[in-house]
Amino acid sequence: MRICVVVPAYNEEANIASVIQELKTYRQDLTIVVVNDGSLDRTGSIAESTGQAVVLNLPCNLGIGGGVQTGFRYAARQGFDIAIQFDGDGQHIAAEIDKILAPIEADEADFVIGSRFIDDARSSYQSTFARRIGIRLFSWLNSLIIRQHITDNTSGFRAYNRRAFCLLAQFYPVDYPEPEAVILLGKNGFRIREVAVEMRARAGGESSISGLKSAYYMFKVMTSILIAAIRTPVKGFARHE
């Protein structure tokens, strides 16, 4: 199985080299695809200088959705079997990839989410109260729409089989894509699985969602989730076709 790790990175010059290093140390045969999403710092050149990653430099900032989708396009065209989504900020732990990979390799799922909340006692992940409420709300809404309980809709630590990432290479939400992608794949009949994983507290930089913006974020995501829910399934891709 050829595995491609898509690492979206925007202004991550402080973290990107160690993220690439960690992935390579974890497993030699991974193809690491860093999508430098129009960073204003030296993310692109630092990633290239490691010599261990395919670096796709976007000429302007597309946002996380457009960035990750570039990686899916690459994986689709290069004939990879599995794509893993792994943040460029050092939040995710390479050794945890085993857990999200297993259900795909065993063909028990098409799409696996690494969840921080499946088992609260085991996770050391810290989060603010407001954020937890928001996450609960997404969970409730998404579960209602796809009739499957998903605890961590905003997790960016995910694995996809070829069928799933080829669909996402064509259609991927733009602004806050993680919760919407769950709906998109769920509505198209893909088998979704969630597994408990550990994540680190952020090593450097700031979350893309903070402060007053979070209310607006919530509103925007809720709207796009509802829009995703009323969209018709994608022809030629839906799993039950």
């Binding site: 999508v35 430098n36 204003l40 030296r42 692109g44 050149s45 990633a47 290239e48 395919v54 670096v55 796709l56 430099n57 976007l58 000429p59 302007c60 597309l62 457009g66 989708q69 570039t70 396009r73 690459y74 065209r77 733009v174």
Partner: protein, 127 residues
């Protein structure tokens, strides 16, 4: 006396509406002629102003339409139809913008993939 005054007022509204919409129609046609506007985007404007000219010229049609939607003062029905037309054009623009941004995103992604395939390294523009 009041009747005469009333007639002059409605007539004036009619004259302004007809002249205004014919003027706008000519303006749109001129833009198309000079290739400043594509037919695709001009079409809705032309339809809106042709309809607007028509209903402001033929008062009985306007009166009938106003009665149909329950508007007592027919000239204000003109405004309603104009707003409906503008809203339709704005929605059309949203559709066009959505298409353009999707195409734009795809182009940005293709450039990144192409540069990688050609082996062009990241080019720093900062000092």
């Amino acid at each position: 006396m009041n009747d005469v005054l009333g007639n002059i007022l409605t007539d004036r509204i009619q004259i302004f509406a007809v002249l205004g919409s014919i003027g706008m129609l000519l303006f749109i046609l001129r833009l198309i002629k000079r290739r400043r506007l594509k037919e695709e985007y001009a079409l809705l404007w032309i339809i809106v102003f042709v309809v607007f000219t028509f209903i402001s010229f033929f008062t009985p049609v306007l009166n009938w339409l106003a009665g149909l939607v329950g508007i007592l003062y027919p000239p204000s029905a003109l405004l309603l139809f104009l707003i409906v037309g503008i809203v339709m054009i704005l929605i059309h623009y949203s559709v066009v913008i959505s298409r353009l941004s999707e195409q734009n995103k795809k182009l940005v992604q293709e450039i990144a993939l192409l540069k990688h395939r050609l082996g062009i390294p990241f080019e720093q523009e900062k000092p």
